[in-house]
Symmetry: none
């Protein structure tokens, strides 16, 4: 049951950079990483720290031998400038004092070659686990229109201010926002938010959609976020109230961040609550 989940909390999959000169080892390792679905990049030398930043790595594997004489210096620079980046040194024969030095310098683990790729992976997981632990099961943050859904904090922000939602309301908007642009059926929504199958005639989803709409209306009056699909369910998509248009039958309605017109534009008293276009052929 130690079968571990390869999915990481950081949204997609784990991203690892490997700085190692042993091409045979790297090849085997990469094959294994592929099977796990981890993204990986092989570094051929000392990559500038800024480049490492750009890679948005989840972990870094380094063979000090590859780096040549400036290896220690480089290791120190990396650990100093990217303290959040887990670093596993995987290198050939070494003395105790070298290992101690490396670990004190900021490396998270030190593995001596020859080593088994599986152990290296397990050690990467171990150091990464510690870091993930604090970040929680944060799925992706969703930005749409004027609001921001933060699954990691149980909060939704509008203009940077928190919108007070109950747990159910939050779970509902999180589900909808995660499926941005797609229509979700009531049954599926109920199933995934409430956890069990919806009884026939249950209107809970409708009621909560109404509550959500109400709160979103207060926080972000010029936008509509939740659209009804008659006879089907609901769809989440940011849409500015004034703009009557929405890409008709676009399968993936992309959240248009700035639909042209000036933001503070004329917002007449909305007895005309911008009825969304119903497709559903």
């Amino acid at each position: 049951m130690s079968e571990m989940t390869t999915e990481t909390a950081t949204g997609g999959c784990m991203r690892v950079a490997i700085g190692d000169g042993d091409s045979g080892f790297v090849q085997v390792l990469c094959k294994r990483l592929d099977r796990l679905g981890w993204e990986h990049r092989v570094l051929t030398g000392t990559v500038p720290v800024e480049r490492l930043v750009a890679m948005r790595l989840g972990a870094l594997v380094l063979d000090l031998a590859l780096l040549g004489p400036g290896a220690w210096e480089y290791l120190e620079r990396v650990t100093r400038e990217l303290p959040a980046l887990p670093v596993v040194v995987c290198t050939g024969q070494s003395t105790v004092s070298q290992r101690v030095r490396g670990l004190r310098m900021g490396a998270d683990d030190w593995l001596t070659k020859p080593c088994h790729p599986e152990e290296l992976i397990a050690r990467i997981e171990a150091v990464t686990r510690r870091r993930r632990q604090a970040e929680g099961p944060g799925t992706e943050v969703v930005l749409a229109g004027e609001i921001e859904v933060r699954p990691d904090q149980f909060q939704v922000f509008a203009h940077g201010a928190s919108i007070d939602l109950t747990r159910r309301e939050f779970e509902l908007i999180q589900l909808l926002a995660a499926a941005e642009g797609r229509v979700l059926e009531r049954e599926e929504i109920y199933q995934r938010v409430w956890g069990y199958t919806m009884a026939h005639g249950d209107r809970s989803v409708d009621v909560f959609v109404r509550k959500l709409r109400s709160k979103l209306q207060v926080a972000s009056p010029d936008w509509n976020y939740i659209h009804t699909h008659f006879g089907v369910g609901y769809r989440f998509a940011a849409q500015q109230a004034g703009a009557e248009r929405e890409a008709l039958r676009a399968p993936i309605a992309e959240a248009a961040p700035e639909p042209g017109p000036a933001p503070g534009a004329v917002q007449a008293p909305p007895p005309e609550p911008a009825r969304d276009v119903r497709l559903l052929a």
Copy 2:
């Protein structure tokens, strides 16, 4: 230099428990730990998890050989119930698959004996460093409203006067303040303050929140600091009592009464700037 403070967020200096049967190795190790000023305890067998909790450890060193047949089970139990506790397995000969199993199970590092005490210490430091960092900067002073949380002194000040808090109370406010603006779930709070997983129905967090609120109320009557998120947890944010700031958190304001823009009205919520930006996630 890597001269680190032995201070941990949980109190005095680093506290380590060693479960190892090799008395010679333990003796050498302890002598070294003494010189470092680390507190240490030697365990002679499988200590119940509750006892480990009571020790308020900073790290645990385990020799699986000492634990006998139930070693794996014990390791799993420890890592499951005390996920915040860094565990370094230091044991005799082992196969790759054993090491992988241990690491996957939750151990943070695996060292094969014979090993040098200095390396073991360096590895303990490494995993502890990673954990401290993941838990956030526990040493940073937090200023909010009229109070000041000083993790370095275990004190909270209001108007410069110290507020008398107990250990738990302080750890709680420190945790909340460090996550200023974010909602923390009860489970997570309990996990990180009490150190083990929260039993179902436990109200300890609530009770301590109440104590904290009570003391903060006395020291800083015009402010609210700890906000309840129903069904979720708590959020720390300084908020002046009189001012009806955070206009967006009105409970279900019905249909917007004044669609007229009311420009100057709800704008720029100053007490909610704490949106952390996580790069290099």
